[in-house]
């Protein structure tokens, strides 16, 4: 019996998690569909996404089931093609937001020195600028490349993450198990990674969905103003804005990309919520 290795139990993995949670299951299916469309949809597109094939704003027809957009391109093909750009930009912006926000939040929340106020007041300064203004300034200053769009969105969004993480960290940092780690001389990095980070995950994940939505919306609104991605790129956010003029003749040109965006955001939120519920469950079992 002495040679037997102790059973190691890990926190529930995604498949187990989804098996128990209807919200998470539906979210995962939706996410699977939307991401599938975004990544592989273009290979099924009947037309090229930048080719004009008929009269602008034409309604649905056998060749173009979703009709044509404001310059006469096939809405279905563009919808199938436009997800990649949206997903990529939104995903990258969210990832960057969390990377910066979590790092700053952990550092500030765990520091018992000047580091905390200095970091947080700088965050407040960033927070005090209107979001869109920062985006537009960035785009006008550095051009409207994808990198600039992602960076600017992250710059706008990270303060919120930093503040949440800092508060959660400061609370966890006073717990006895953190003190025990300090007393046994663990390094700050090990304490943050092992003792603190796992316990600030719920608030971090809880609004991941919302922040992902915001980053897509932010980038879409810059696109909408014509300062972001330049036509003829297919992008769901851009499609919603560029087709607003023909909403009376072919509403599907706006509805289709908008619906895909909505599904994406709902799916991310459902899965995020399921994950938080799962964390809560494993911590409050009797």
């Amino acid at each position: 019996m002495n040679t037997a290795v102790l059973p190691r139990r890990r926190r529930a993995r995604w498949p187990e998690l989804l098996a128990h949670d209807w919200g998470g299951r539906i979210g995962a299916i939706l996410l699977f569909i939307v991401v599938g469309v975004a990544l592989f949809g273009s290979s099924f597109a009947p037309h090229g996404s930048t080719v004009t094939i008929g009269i602008p704003g034409l309604g649905p027809s056998p060749g173009a089931p979703l009709g044509l957009d404001f310059v006469g391109r096939d809405v279905l093909s563009r919808t199938l093609d436009g997800g990649r750009s949206t997903l990529l930009l939104g995903g990258a912006a969210t990832a960057l937001t969390y990377l910066v926000g979590v790092t700053i939040g952990l550092a500030a929340g765990n520091a018992r020195s000047l580091v905390d106020p200095v970091l947080m007041r700088s965050v407040d300064v960033v927070l005090s600028f209107p979001a869109l203004l920062v985006m537009l300034l960035a785009v006008t200053a550095f051009g409207s490349s994808r990198t600039v769009l992602v960076g600017a969105a992250a710059l706008v969004l990270f303060p919120g993450v930093a503040r949440i993480v800092r508060t959660a960290t400061a609370e966890v940092a006073t717990k006895a198990y953190v003190e025990a780690a300090v007393a046994s001389g663990e390094r700050a990095i090990a304490i943050i990674r092992r003792e603190i980070l796992p316990n600030v995950m719920p608030p971090i994940v809880a609004d991941l969905g919302i922040r992902f939505s915001w980053s897509i919306i932010l980038i879409a609104s810059v696109n909408y103003l014509g300062l972001g991605l330049q036509p003829p790129t297919a992008d769901w956010g851009l499609m919603v804005s560029e087709n607003r003029g023909i909403i009376s003749t072919n509403a599907l040109a706006v509805i289709a990309p908008a619906l895909m965006l909505a599904l994406l955001i709902v799916a991310v939120n459902l899965v995020g919520d399921a994950y938080v519920r799962q964390l809560g469950r494993s911590k409050s079992e009797p």
Binding site: N2, V5, L6, P7, R8, R9, R11, K175, A176, Y177, E179, A180, V182, A183, S184, G185, E186, R194, E195, P198, N199, M201, S282, K283, S284, E285, P286
Partner: protein, 626 residues
């Protein structure tokens, strides 16, 4: 007390269950007469608070009353509306945590006035807020009434709560662990106050507590609950002199006592949870005298003597509570400081010299401890005793390297220790381990028990994963936890189990000194007995030295050899436990000892029937002869 005995509260066959049908309390019947204090004793999960709440017709979410009848002052309370009218007017509540019960933005006189106003016209006497304050022993002056709750001490806050509860002139007051958060001296004062209120106002009180020693001093009757049922009920004298239910006996044997120090005898097993009450007697799985039918058949509450009821088939065979003195340690240390005790006893593992510690606050620095000196032998146990704010926790933190020392020094095996943990060598950090007060916060909720215990074994002792696993298994056995606990998360464990895991984590480092900061204060007495037993074995079996930080003199008397009494950050008395507890010299120690409740003191008082000490506060009442 010349009034004829009038029953003011009658609860019959109360049963409360979860939505699933699992019973929380079953068939609880209580009777309370005017001018009587009924002590309802039980550990967490025994259903005592549920019982109290159902007297108000109030149930927590997901919980419903299944059966039973409540009658207060001759009125049977049937529906929610009747209960609502009764609350405050007939029966009122004093909560456990007064700081949270009082509205922080309301002046205390207004809070009392509010309650009087809500029941104006119905209340018996023309109460005024200031009159009420005076009745509970607070100042009746205008400026005092204008204070906010945060400007009062914990004891004063609790008195305000009592005043609020009494101000509507209820027939019954339910007090839910009213002194649990208070220090002993304040507790003694509040208990005094309650007894005189009972005598003067003929209020009936239902006093809920986990502490047998406390009820033994104030109650006119005791009801002991276990797993949702009353298992023994009767006069305190009858129950405590010869407990008939093995659980009551077990509780008594688990309760530390500073007046007559004793070796605790922990009960087997753990309490059953709500919802898995077994078909027979719920205590049978832990019971040393259980017979076959205890597991299948539920014993009735049987009258074994006049007014003494016991729910046990085998009550006749319940042995009396033995009073075994603690191990020989006292004798060994009585040799004195200079003389070397047996063998290696002379070598001091830890020496603290003139320790001084301060806290920085907005208004400069606050002194937390000054000029504290003591030494700890190998395998020895020194206790630091004091009330909250006496600086004892700060001293623990300084020794563990979590709080900087302002002056003085700490020597570990003759070597001076650097002030903060990360400046100390690996070896030094390994040798001193600390266990914290709150078991809920002691363990990282994101790590399994085995990962928590293995960590210090790997970082401080450099064990491999395989070796650490073996170590985890060995330590779980040492702290008497089953091996399957290894893969659990802290949320799946009880408070006592968490605390034992925390001890195992500290032991994983292979320490010389274990600093225990109030580690049993959040635990039930039966669990505390297990933890204290474990600590004793550590000292004797593994040569670990203990620094015990506590406010509980009973705990000190069971474990420690030397004791330092702290007041306002300074040592006011020091000596062997026997010396200090038997012949306290400092006035503060004397007060502390007087105030601390003790079962044996009450028993002795009954024995000699002389009115000594706290019995003067009016506890001995003619037993009700019905």
């Amino acid at each position: 007390m010349t009034q004829p005995e009038r029953v003011v509260l009658r609860a019959r066959g109360l049963s409360v269950e979860l939505a699933s049908g699992a019973a929380i309390i079953e068939d609880v019947s209580l009777e309370l007469k005017a001018g009587e204090i009924l002590g309802l004793v039980g550990e967490s999960g025994s259903g005592k608070t549920t019982t109290a709440l159902s007297i108000f017709g109030y149930h927590e979410q997901g919980v419903r009353a299944a059966r039973g009848e409540i009658e207060i002052s001759g009125q049977v309370l049937g529906d929610e509306q009747m209960f609502r009218r009764a609350r405050g007017r007939l029966v009122s509540y004093v909560p456990q945590n007064p700081g949270m019960a009082l509205n922080p933005s309301m002046r205390i006189a207004d809070a009392i006035e509010d309650m009087i106003g809500a029941h104006r016209g119905k209340s018996v006497s023309g109460n005024s807020a200031h009159g009420m304050l005076e009745r509970v022993g607070l100042s009746a002056s205008q400026p005092f009434g204008r204070r906010f709750p945060h400007q009062l001490s914990g004891g004063q806050q609790q008195r305000v709560c009592i005043a609020v509860a009494l101000s509507s002139g209820p027939a019954v007051v339910v007090l839910d662990e009213p002194t649990t958060g208070l220090d002993v001296i304040t507790q003694a004062r509040i208990l005094n106050e309650l007894v005189s209120l009972r005598d003067e106002e003929q209020v009936a009180m239902l006093y809920i507590t986990h502490d047998l020693a406390v009820v033994s001093e104030i109650a006119s009757r005791i009801a002991v609950m276990y797993a949702g049922r009353i298992v023994e009920q009767g006069a305190p004298e009858a129950i405590l002199r010869s407990p008939r239910h093995p659980y009551t006996r077990g509780l008594m044997a688990s309760t530390p006592d500073h007046v007559r120090p004793r070796m605790l005898q922990a009960m087997e097993g753990i309490a059953v949870g709500v919802g898995d009450h077994p078909p027979g007697c719920a205590f049978a799985p832990r019971c040393p005298q259980a017979v076959a039918r205890c597991h299948t058949e539920l014993p009735a509450l049987e009258e074994t003597a006049s007014n003494h009821f016991v729910r046990c088939f085998e009550w006749l065979s319940t042995p009396p509570v033995e009073w075994i003195p603690p191990m020989v340690k006292h004798a060994a240390s009585a040799v004195g400081e200079g003389a070397s005790a047996v063998g290696e006893g002379a070598s001091n593992v830890l020496e603290v010299n003139h320790l001084r510690a301060e806290y920085r606050s907005r208004h400069g620095s606050v002194l937390a401890a000054s000029d504290v000196s003591f030494s700890l032998e190998q395998g020895g146990c020194v206790a630091l005793v004091g009330e909250s704010g006496s600086g004892k926790t700060t001293i623990a933190r300084v020794i563990a390297g979590l709080h900087p020392i302002s002056s003085g020094e700490i020597r570990l095996r003759g070597q001076a220790l650097p002030r903060v943990a990360h400046r100390r060598t690996l070896e030094q950090r390994r040798r001193i381990q600390i266990v914290f007060q709150n078991p809920g916060e002691a363990l990282n909720p994101s790590h399994t028990v085995s990962s928590t215990i293995a960590r210090p074994a790997r970082t401080l002792r450099g064990l491999s994963r395989r070796e650490a696993d073996d170590e985890v298994r060995r330590l779980l056995m040492a702290v008497r936890l089953p091996r399957r606990v290894a893969e659990r998360y802290p949320a799946e464990l009880s408070g006592g189990e968490c605390q034992r895991v925390a001890i195992a984590r500290a032991l994983a480092a292979g320490p010389d000194v274990l600093v225990c900061d109030e580690i049993t204060s959040a635990l039930d007495v039966s669990v505390q007995a297990v933890v204290l037993e474990l600590l004793r074995d550590l000292g004797q079996g593994f040569g670990v030295s203990l620094l015990l930080i506590t406010h509980d003199l009973g705990v000190v008397s069971t474990l420690a050899e030397r004791v330092l009494v702290l007041k306002d950050g300074a040592v006011c008395e020091e000596g062997t436990v026997a010396e200090v507890l038997e012949t306290p010299r400092h006035e503060y120690t004397q007060r502390l000892l007087q105030a601390a409740p003790s079962l044996s003191a009450t028993l002795d008082a009954w024995e000699s029937a002389t009115v000594t000490r706290r019995t003067a506060v009016g506890l001995i009442e003619p037993r009700d002869v019905t």
